[in-house]
Amino acid sequence: MTASAVQFTDVLVIGGGLAGERCAIEAAAAGHDVLILSLVPPRRSHSCAAQGGMQAALGNCVMAEGDNTTLHYLDTVRGSDWGADQEVARIFVEEAPVAVRELAHFGVPWTRVRGGHNSYFIRGKRVEIDERLENDGLIMHRDFGGTAKWRACYAAAGTGHAALYAVDSEVVRLGITVRDRAEAVELIHDGGRCWGAVARCLRTGGHFAVVAKATVIATGGYGRIYGKYTTNATINEGMGAAIALNTGSVPLGNMEAVQFHPTALAPSNILITEGARGDGAYLLDKNLHRFMVDAEPEKQELASRDVVSRHMKQCMRDGNGVDTPYGPHLWLDLRHLGEQHLITKLREVFEICRDFEGLNPVTDLIPVQPTQHYSMGGVRVNKDGQAYGMNGLFAAGEASCWDMHGFNRLGGNSLAETVVAGRLVGRAVADYAAATSLDVHTSLALGTKHAAEQRAGDWLNRSGSGPDVYSIRDAMGETMMSKVGIFRTGDELTEAVDELTALLIDCDRAVLRSKVPGMNPELSFALRLKNMLRLAFVTAKGAQLRTESRGAHYRSDYPLRNDAEWLNRTLVRWAADAAEPEFGYEPVGEIDLPPGHRGYGSDERIEMYEPVEQYNSDAYERQAEHGRLASSEAPGSRILWGAWREHV
């Protein structure tokens, strides 16, 4: 390719999943030129794999009666183990109902309330409920973990698929340009202002630069740093977070906060939705005993994911797992839900069991194990989605650390986050692009493009007998799952950091076996490998440094949540050419709901020693010191102070 391979646009969106596309719609509707880069045709983005539902407090069915945004807020903050930014959680719960209804407007065939007699499974019992006739035809809810009410809006077990197709249809309607099979490999920036990105075409292997007034990272999670131990798609390699980290100016937040989903199908790790347990499925040990009833008498199978995953892991450690050559697993029992329910409301679950293991959930138990599922960490942004430390760079969805999830997100909250954040960040992006001009030297873009080409060239020129890239990837996955997993200890985390350090060195001397022209799948992966190792490293190191247990980050050697010392958010910066990452810690935000018991899991913790008022007094100042840029409205302005008091 020649130097003319530079494109100009108002808004560049990196990632064609729900968050990126919803953001693009908002910017395009405001009149901007928008270009979306996507690894795959947008409808194949991993948003399509979200099955169970989208949390929004509509309160339409009997089991949702009395629900409201404040209850949703309480569930979200408690679920986060107080790691969330409470203002962002409040913004989210208030906007979620609008975002869900907007999806209905875009065409999502939400499952609806059937007025009159209905039969459900609730905490192990069949319950007959008459749905109100006046609510017939409104959006229905199902139960999910860690929520006070039935709140998850759903389209059978294909909610993400239906939402993604609806949103992508809007993208096509608005004529937004999508360049699929294109991967952003480096941000164009001067240390304080981002001007787009350089991307690699996954059809031809050529590089091109996109110069933009505003750039949005919406590349989803980074589950593949856990190798095959993830429910995530093969494309969830975290490159959006990685290219932000590589700038050295933008911090990633809470990378050690990694969610393990209780029910991945064993051994393929394909996701079985939490909606299965929401609809009444049981978890059983090898003696077919419902161990979650003993462990969590109140919430049972529907405690939060971090809590359920730990109980499952402990159950298997105690020798109550079912042993197989692939390691132990537990059982998910859906049999009592009946065939009619399984082939309609849980159809995708039925198909996965049948297609991948030849099992029929109507009659067979389903083997499951907890597996990496969601990345609470990501590009740290303010409430507008503006990245810390870099003007003109935004992030939304799982790629971001916005941060409504803290150290554990609730099921159904991330799918809702994609569209809520997409709308809101899209507006901020549109405003930003309207207020700025493309005042940039193309030499900056061409220099970045040249550097990216150089990196690809270096891989192709390297020869000798170094390790191959796939063995390094596999070693990374083993290290991450065995030492940065559900239960963590200081010793194991130190080993993990050492092993990842060695793998980073290996990566620099790895050689390609294929030098074919074109996209070259081995080269394509090699170009990601170092980025993935760097994400893995800051995840392991962050976990090693955080000497407490909070949400999904559980330290067996520090089993208590420590609000006296660790009521904060980890921030890490690591320029591509720097030897070591730099860690810092900022306040979670202003605290409205004081730290307390989540309502499930352990009730023991180390209390804050300073009063909440004191913590709040300089919270935003301290965030600004860590690079938080000004938001459109003053920080804290959306908190509804004390609104929760009516509900506890």
Partner: protein, 251 residues
């Protein structure tokens, strides 16, 4: 015991179509690889194993590896199928893999379904034609749950392209909407939230590129990995178009 717990191991022989359009030295040919079969082995597992241990230049597409994203349509022993969902235990020991026809070849087993489906959506305007702008303050419009389920049934299409590849008409007429395209049109047609009139639908669907292009061979119905009732979808479209034509004739 399920079919995958069987321990008898076969030696599998893969004959795979190879061609890299970006490489001037590359010519279309078949290449053979061998692998030991393993329990739960899908084509996703097998192809990655071949790429990682035998030929790192092999191109193919997978993303979700759980039959939800539609990336991995390919011809498996002459029949379109999703690679991730195809288990080797269901196949003979010789497995021939080709890229899907109709779609532009990117390399080896990888084809450009994205461009095809985008133009299909553009041509049939397969998006919600709402009467009014979205009102953020309003409650959702009601819908009967049975109707929601019926719409969801068509909505389940993952645009993998298997039906298009299997379709004799789509293989000859590049403008034909194809079974997936017709299914998408039907999905919007039955949705009361879409305001298009019968006459407008008639324009979109009643031509040789629409429902009347279909010769009724219905291979699409047999190969659809999501088991969409394409036979019923086509019948629905014919019925609707006919009714609309009759109504028009009466005016």
């Amino acid at each position: 015991m399920t079919r995958n717990e069987s321990t008898a191991s076969r030696r599998l022989r893969f004959e795979i179509f190879r061609y890299n359009p970006e490489d001037s030295d590359s010519k279309p040919h078949m290449q053979t690889f061998e692998l030991d079969e393993a329990p739960y082995m899908s084509l996703y597992i097998a192809l990655n194993q071949i790429r990682e241990t035998q030929d790192p230049s092999l191109q193919f597409d997978f993303a979700c590896r759980s039959a939800i994203c539609g990336s991995c349509g390919m011809m498996v022993n002459g029949r379109p199928a999703l690679g991730c969902r195809t288990l080797t235990t269901d196949l003979p020991a010789v497995i021939r893999l080709h890229p899907l026809p109709v779609f532009k070849l990117i390399g080896d087993l990888s084809v450009d379904t994205g461009t095809w489906f985008r133009q299909m959506v553009e041509k049939s305007e397969a998006w919600m034609h709402a009467e009014q702008a979205f009102d953020p303050a309003a409650s959702e419009e009601r819908m009967d749950d049975k109707l929601a389920q019926a719409i969801y049934e068509g909505e389940r299409c993952i645009e993998c392209g298997c039906c298009v590849a299997s379709c004799g008409v789509a293989n000859l007429n590049a403008d034909f909407a194809g079974p997936a395209g017709l299914n998408r049109i039907a999905r919007f047609m039955m949705d009361p939230r879409d305001s298009r009139s019968d006459a407008e639908w008639f324009e979109i669907v009643s031509s040789a590129d629409g429902i009347f292009g279909c010769l009724g061979m219905m291979a699409c119905h047999d190969v659809c990995p999501k088991e969409l009732p394409l036979l019923e979808v086509h019948a629905y479209l014919r019925r609707k178009v006919l009714a609309s034509a009759l109504a028009d004739g009466g005016n």
